[in-house]
C-alpha cells in the first residue's frame, strides 16, 4: 500500500466516531468497574494473577481479542499490515511492554483515560511518547531511507 492509498483512506468520520466509542468504553469502565481502561495496565495485572482481580482482566482482554472478528461481521476490516520482520517485532513488542510499565501506561491509559481525567502525569507521558514516536518515524522514513 502506497502513501497515496493511505491518504485516500483518511476518513475523519470513522476516526472520530471510533474515538468516541473508545471514549465511551473507557468512561463505562470507570463508571461500572471503577477502573481506568489502560490496556497495558490491565494486561500487566494478570502477571502474577491475584485472586479476585483476575476475572475482569481476563474478560476485558477476551472482549478486546474478540472485537476484530465481531467488527468484521458487519464491516470489512483491513488486516493489520506489519512490515517489520519477526525479530524486530519481538524486540519492539518487548520494549513496548517494558516502556509502558516503566511509564505506568500506554496510549489508552495515559492518552485516553489520563487526558480525560486531566492528569498532568498523563499529559506529560502522552507528549513524550508522541514526541519520541515522531522523531523515530522521521529518522526511519526521512534519514535512514
Amino acid at each position: 500500500m502506497g502513501d497515496a492509498d493511505r491518504l485516500a483512506e483518511f476518513s475523519p468520520l470513522s476516526a472520530i466516531s471510533g474515538g468516541a466509542v473508545i471514549g465511551l468504553a473507557a468512561s463505562l469502565c470507570a463508571l461500572l468497574l471503577g477502573r481506568v481502561a489502560g490496556v497495558s495496565g490491565i494486561l500487566a495485572g494478570l502477571a502474577p494473577p491475584r485472586r479476585g482481580d483476575l476475572v475482569w482482566r481476563l474478560a476485558f482482554v477476551a472482549g478486546l481479542f474478540a472485537a476484530p472478528a465481531a467488527f468484521a461481521l458487519a464491516h470489512p476490516l483491513q488486516q493489520p499490515e506489519f512490515r517489520a520482520g519477526a525479530a524486530t517485532l519481538i524486540l519492539a513488542g518487548g520494549l513496548v511492554g517494558f516502556g509502558s510499565r516503566l511509564g505506568s501506561g500506554c496510549t489508552s491509559g495515559h492518552g485516553v483515560c489520563g487526558l480525560s481525567r486531566l492528569s498532568l502525569r498523563s499529559a506529560a507521558a502522552t507528549a513524550t511518547f508522541m514526541a519520541t514516536g515522531l522523531l523515530t518515524v522521521f529518522f526511519i522514513r526521512h534519514i535512514l531511507r
Binding site: R6, F10, S11, A15, I16, G18, G19, A20, V21, I22, L24, A25, A26, S27, L28, C29, A30, L31, L33, G34, G52, V55, A59, F60, V61, G63, L64, F65, A67, A70, F71, Q78, P80, E81, R83, A84, A92, L95, F98, G99, R101, L102, G103, S104, C113, L115, S116, A124, A125, T126, F129, M130, T132, G133, L135, T136, I140, R141, H142, R145
Partner: protein, 118 residues
C-alpha cells in the same frame, strides 16, 4: 474488595466495545499511526480525530465518575491512579514506548530496496 464473578460479562462487553472502537477508528493499522507521526511526509491526521473523539467523550465520563459517591455502579471502589507528579520513570518509560511502538511498521530491507516504502 474483590471483583465479583458477575463482572465477567460487563468486563467482556467493555473490552469488546473498546476493541470495536479501535477497529472503527482504523488504529488497528500500524501504518495509520505512523502516518500521523510522519509530519514531514504525507501527514495522516486520523489519530488526532480518534483522540479528539475519545477524550471528548472521556472528559464527560470521568467527570461523572469523579462524583463523591464512593462506589462505582457495580459497587466497586474507584481505583484511579494517584496524581503523583511527573518523574523520571514516567518520562523514560514513555520515551521507550514511543520509540518501540512505531517499529511495528518498520520496513524490511527488501521493501526498502524495492522502493515500496517511500
Amino acid at each position: 474488595m474483590k471483583m465479583q464473578k458477575g463482572h465477567l460479562l460487563p468486563a467482556f462487553a467493555l473490552g469488546l466495545l473498546f476493541g470495536l472502537g479501535l477497529c472503527l477508528s482504523g488504529m488497528t493499522q500500524p501504518l495509520k499511526v505512523q502516518g500521523f507521526l510522519d509530519v514531514a511526509g504525507l501527514w495522516d491526521p486520523s489519530l488526532a480525530f480518534v483522540m479528539g473523539g475519545a477524550v471528548g467523550v472521556g472528559l464527560i465520563g470521568f467527570r461523572l465518575a469523579r462524583k463523591p459517591a464512593a462506589r462505582s455502579m457495580l459497587g466497586e471502589p474507584f481505583r484511579f491512579p494517584a496524581e503523583s507528579g511527573v518523574d523520571a520513570p514516567l518520562l523514560i518509560g514513555s520515551a521507550i514506548f514511543g520509540v518501540a511502538g512505531v517499529f511495528r511498521g518498520l520496513p524490511r530491507p527488501r521493501d526498502r530496496q524495492s522502493g515500496s516504502f517511500q
